[in-house]
Structure formats: C-alpha cells, structure tokens
Amino acid sequence: MKEEDWINQIMDGLDHLPKAKPSPEFLSSLESTFSKPKVISLNKNQRNSFLWFAAASVVILFLINFNVVQSEFQSMNNAAAEEIISDYGLDETSNYYNLEYYEQN
C-alpha cells in the first residue's frame, strides 16, 4: 500500500473515533460526591456578621465569667478575713487596746 493511502486510511479514523467510557466505579463515586448533605455556605457579608456576633459573644461570656470569678474571689477573701479577725479577736466588739481600762487606771 502506498504511504499516502496508508495515511489516508489512518486519517479516516477521525470519522469514527472510539468513545472512552468512564468506569462504573468512577461514575458511582461521582454520584456519591454530589449526593452528600450540603454544607450551607454563607456569603461574605453573612460570614462577616456571623464572625462579629461570635466574637462579641465570646467577649460577653468572658466578662460575665470574669465578674463571677472576681465576686467569688472577693467573697472568699472576705470569709478568710473574717476568720482571721475572729481567730485573733480582732472583731469590732473587742477592745484590743482596752482604752477604757488604761483610762481608768
């Protein structure tokens, strides 16, 4: 066969190029990729508002927590101070310097 005829015979193949078929495994993995539950995506403005709200919530919670902790600490300190006062007889009712005694005497 002449070379030109051979080339033309090969070029005829352009009119019936075979189709490449994807494997059934690939097709089912493709289907399962798109049948997963969708994550709702926020647009930029919604996302920014959400972030601000989240940040503000964190700050508020922190401040509330801080107040609670601080007041707990305060009351703990007060309780401890009262114990010391009563242990050492330093409460308001006791006259440590016993001034009246010294004045009398």
Binding site: W6, Q9, M11, L17, P18, K19, A20, F34, S35
Partner: protein
C-alpha cells in the same frame, strides 16, 4: 436526554435530582472530551470530577448568554488545557492509558481479528498524533470530530470566531498527516 431550563433552575437551587440528571446527561461526554485531551485515566477522572464541582459551584452565576451545553463543555475543556499546561510546567511524564482499556468492547464492531488488529494499530497511531497536537488544535478537533459539534458551537466553546475554528481544524488535519507520515517512517512501513 437533554438538560432543560427547568433543570438549570433546579440546579441553581441545589436540587439533588437536578444534580443527578446533570451527571447522567454529561458525565460520559465530558469524560470523553477530557480523556482525549489528557489520554490518562486517572487525570481524566480527576478533571471530570473537578469540572462537575465547578459547574455546580458556578451555576448560580450562569446567565444564559451562551447555551448550557456550550458552558459545560467550555469548563471541561479549560480545565483539561490547564491540566496539560500544569503537566508541562511540572515536567511531568504522564503515562498514557491506552484507549482499548477504556472502550466498551460491545462498541467494537470489527469481527475479523486481522482487520481489528490493523484497525487498532491505525487508531493507536492516530491517537498518538492527536495527543501531540497543539492545545487549541486538539480541542477544536476533539470537539468537532469526537463530539460532533458544529464549527459555530466549537467557536462558542473555545471563545473564537467560526473562521478561526475552521482554520484550526484545517491546520490540525495537516499536522496529523505530517505526524502520521513520520510515525510510519519510524515503523518502516
């Protein structure tokens, strides 16, 4: 099976049934086009999946300035060309998946084993020649010959004029003949 305007609206609303129909209508077609660009099974699967992800992601921006069909093919072709350029930049040697591994044997109508063998060899030479074409020529030829697209449709997909597509296909055929002639000389036929 066609993808109607209602299907497009449902797809924009992320309707799972519309997504399923999209895959049914286009999975094999896009895979075919992508494979002919890349000639590697794994990369063809990767790019086909990427194409569908992009279609579903961008559908809300689809304004029907072109037909849906054109838009879908354009995404697949552009991703394929991007992958080819990436492989070249990365100097990646991509192993070709022979087409006979991907063809459905029921499609093969050749009964005579000798004729089949010759046909397979001829087809292999042709496929190698197609693969070595410049990107735009390859895209134009694949869309025209493989997918049976009219030149006007190919022009829309590739964002070119019809005359430019005509010229591309003509240059592609000329280049194919030259490459085939070289290959035959190598095989000493």
């Amino acid at each position: 099976m066609t993808f109607s305007k209602t299907d497009i609206e449902n797809l924009k609303a992320l309707d799972p049934l519309a997504q399923k129909k999209l895959l049914k209508c286009y999975a094999e077609k896009l895979y075919n086009v992508v494979y002919y660009h890349l000639q590697n099974r794994e990369q063809a699967e990767e790019i086909t999946q990427d194409a569908f992800i992009k279609i579903i992601d961008k559908i809300k921006n689809f304004e029907e300035r072109s037909s849906f069909d054109t838009w879908v093919y354009r995404i697949a072709v552009n991703l394929s060309l991007d992958k080819i350029r990436y492989n070249k930049r990365a100097k990646r040697k991509v192993e070709k998946t022979p087409l006979h591994q991907l063809i459905n044997p029921l499609d093969d109508k050749q009964l005579n084993p000798e004729a089949k063998l010759q046909s397979d060899e001829n087809m292999q030479i042709l496929l190698e020649a197609i693969e070595s074409l410049p990107d735009r020529q390859k895209s134009a030829l694949v869309l025209s010959k493989l997918e049976g697209k009219k030149q006007s449709e190919v022009a829309e997909i590739l964002d070119l004029s019809t005359k430019a597509v005509e010229s591309l296909i003509s240059r592609a055929k000329k280049a194919l003949k030259e490459k085939i002639a070289l290959k035959l000389k190598e095989l000493k036929i």
